[in-house]
């Protein structure tokens, strides 16, 4: 095993807490049962690492096996690193017929055609997700396995999730994706999170959405104290209305765990106090950042409890509706489609 292989292995095992190493090695299935039994997980990490490296050398494992281990680790722990979403656009007519083998062939063929030294690994997970690991080299250097890019794509959807991609390689990856999925273009999704699960839940709509419907009523799942027959809710209707509004905007039940939403302001100052600020021609630049361990849950609670006044402003509901968490707000008015405008009047809701 060469130096790069050993360092990659080293890095993987150092990241995992000792108690999870055993499961991962079992899933990997490259070490024999005796070797697995010989490992003592109560020893310090560096001892375990050394043992694993010596076992791998015994079994004559090479970079292919180690990268497989790394992929298994990432698939099991998708919420590491920072993920960005991209959206494919302009689907061609036969985009729906693209099959897994076709996708794999086209993707690999394109990348191998443009870069001489590159290592690509594709794996289909049981939940229909295709995981791709790319170690980039160039025409003179071998692939660098210490900084691989991970890409996750669900076939037939228009979303691609990317982690750890440098600007230099972005264009190659985008081209390959567009060709392999039979679309016309790919653009930035303006959504980045630490948790791939949250991103997938939001974009693939794996949370329960609520739509205005003549025949349904949201059930009060959290039954509060007032179930006593002598206690009547004076503002029951208002509460119900606020609850309906909040669930329509942010979903019902557990929402995807987004952590931040960033609004970059490029607007002119409009306050009544200091006129010198308002007279200037240049923008009053600012960044508003919402942070939370569960952003959508907290926003929903704000609206449902009455802390934030309804109807829900489109600036906030755009997080779930458009599936993004980075917005640039300008003064131009509601004509600009890709940006949420500060000028939009709150929409009237009748109930």
């Amino acid at each position: 095993m060469d130096a790069q292989t050993t360092s990659v292995l080293n890095r993987i095992i150092r990241r995992i807490p000792n108690k999870n190493i055993e499961d991962l090695l079992k899933k990997w299935n490259c070490l024999s049962a005796d070797q697995l039994r010989a490992l003592d997980y109560t020893r310090p990490k560096w001892v375990i690492v050394e043992h694993v490296i010596s076992f791998c050398e015994e079994n004559r494992l090479n970079m292919k096996h180690i990268t497989n281990l790394e992929m298994i680790y990432h698939i099991e722990n998708p919420d590491r690193g920072t993920w960005h979403a991209c959206q494919l656009a302009e689907a061609q007519d036969d985009a729906v017929c693209v099959e897994l083998t076709q996708f794999k062939e086209q993707f690999k063929a394109h990348l191998h055609g443009v870069i001489r030294h590159i290592s690509i690994k594709l794996k289909k997970h049981e939940d229909e997700a295709i995981w791709i690991r790319i170690a980039w080299g160039d025409n003179f250097n071998k692939p660098n396995h210490l900084k691989p890019t991970y890409v996750v794509h669900h076939l037939h959807t228009s979303y691609v999730f990317i982690s750890n991609l440098t600007a230099k390689h972005k264009i190659y990856l985008c081209q390959a994706l567009v060709i392999a999925t039979k679309h016309g273009s790919i653009k930035d999704g303006h959504l980045s999170t630490k948790s791939l699960t949250a991103m997938r839940d939001l974009l693939l709509r794996r949370y329960q959405q609520v739509f205005p419907n003549a025949h349904s009523r949201i059930l009060q799942d959290r039954n509060t104290v007032s179930s006593h027959p002598c206690i009547g809710k004076e503002h029951g209707d208002h509460e119900e209305m606020r609850r309906q509004m909040s669930c329509e905007a942010f979903g019902l039940g557990p929402s995807p765990k987004l952590e931040t939403a960033v609004y970059r302001l490029e607007t002119r100052y409009r306050g009544t106090g200091d006129h010198s600020l308002g007279d200037r021609e240049e923008f009053f630049r600012g960044v508003v950042r919402f942070s939370s361990s569960g952003l959508l849950d907290s926003l929903r609670h704000c609206v449902a409890s009455g802390i934030a006044e309804g109807p829900v402003t489109p600036l906030l509901s755009a997080i779930t509706q458009r599936g993004r968490n980075y917005f640039v707000i300008t003064d131009k008015g509601p004509g600009v489609s890709s940006q949420a405008s500060a000028q939009t009047a709150p929409s009237q809701q009748t109930l």
Partner: protein, 310 residues
């Protein structure tokens, strides 16, 4: 007075017995009075009941006449007077329209209700319960929400909703249709030109998707011996591994391709087996056509019953 003197002579117990006799007499009177009033009340209630029965009969006959499209005659309710006739007519129409509305909700025919003919047509389709859709207008007409109900073989499956923004041009603002479904390309093709056609096509495709998904579920549930080798979110291809029953059980790979996503039956079925004789046999040719013509789970159950597969 005499009886009083008598009882006085018989002592305290005698006195008490006399009082008791007196009380009983008064209660009997009270009872008879009460029974008289109750009888009178019963008579009035019966009369009222008969009147209401007559009234509902009138309304029912009017409604039947509306349904059958027969002309209404004045003699039907002439006895009660013109105002009564009007009232009965209104009630009859209201009941009729409510029935139609319910039928619409179940079937989801987007065309406006034309006449009784539509109602009769609805009546014949309701037992087979195909999926339909309803449209709800909200935000003072600025947006509308369409709910598509899907069903397959009489079983109601999922409901998908699409919210349309009607302010400038008709656009989809949000939806809960599965992301692998080509909603954007469908919308690009037909939404702006013809809303009704778009909703019809979408309803048809969503129903077909739900039907294909349900077939895969039923297959896994009912025919446990068949293994699903490959499938995808859109259920556009299904690869099954069956075990053919012969002296030596052989594996047969059936590939079902659903080329038309608006249909719940495959467009192409191919059978592969190591033993070329088996895959070319008339029995398997018949199985191939069975898989083309009927839903996957029914075809496989038939094949198992006929002994082709285990």
């Amino acid at each position: 007075m005499d009886s009083f003197m008598e009882t006085m002579e018989q002592g305290v117990l005698g006195h008490l017995m006399a009082l008791e006799r007196g009380g009983m007499g008064r209660q009997k009177q009270h009872d008879s009075q009460r029974s008289e009033t109750l009888k009178a009340r019963a008579v009035t209630l019966r009369a009222k009941r008969d009147q209401l029965k007559h009234h509902t009969d009138v309304v029912k006959t009017l409604k039947d006449k509306i349904v059958k499209g027969l002309p209404l005659r004045d003699e039907d309710a002439a006895a009660d007077g013109f105002v009564e006739l009007q009232k009965s007519l209104l009630t009859a129409w209201r009941m009729q329209l409510k029935d139609l509305q319910r039928a619409h909700h179940l079937i989801g025919n987007f065309a406006p209700v034309k006449s009784h003919r539509a109602h009769c047509h609805c009546r014949s389709i309701v037992p087979s319960l195909s999926g339909g859709y309803d449209l709800v207008e909200c935000k003072d007409g600025k947006s509308a929400c369409v709910s598509f109900h899907t069903a397959f073989e009489g079983v109601r499956l999922e409901t998908y909703s699409v919210e349309l923004d009607l302010t400038r041009a008709v656009q989809i603002s949000r939806h809960n249709v599965p992301p692998s479904f080509p909603l954007e390309s469908l919308a690009k093709r037909t939404l702006q030109k013809d809303l009704k056609a778009f909703l019809q096509t979408l309803s048809q495709n969503l129903n077909a998707l739900a039907a294909r998904r349900r077939q895969v579920c039923l297959l896994k549930e009912l025919v446990g011996s068949v293994e699903v080798m490959e499938s995808n979110q859109l259920c556009s291809v299904l690869v099954l591994m069956c075990t053919a029953q012969s002296e030596a059980p052989k594996a047969v790979l059936c590939t079902l391709e659903y080329g038309d996503l608006a249909q719940c039956l495959p467009t192409r079925v191919s059978i592969e087996c190591e033993d070329k004789v088996l895959s070319g046999s008339p029995q398997w040719k018949k199985n191939q056509s069975l898989l083309l013509e009927s839903p996957a789970h029914t075809a496989l159950l038939t094949m198992r019953r006929m002994g082709s597969i285990s």
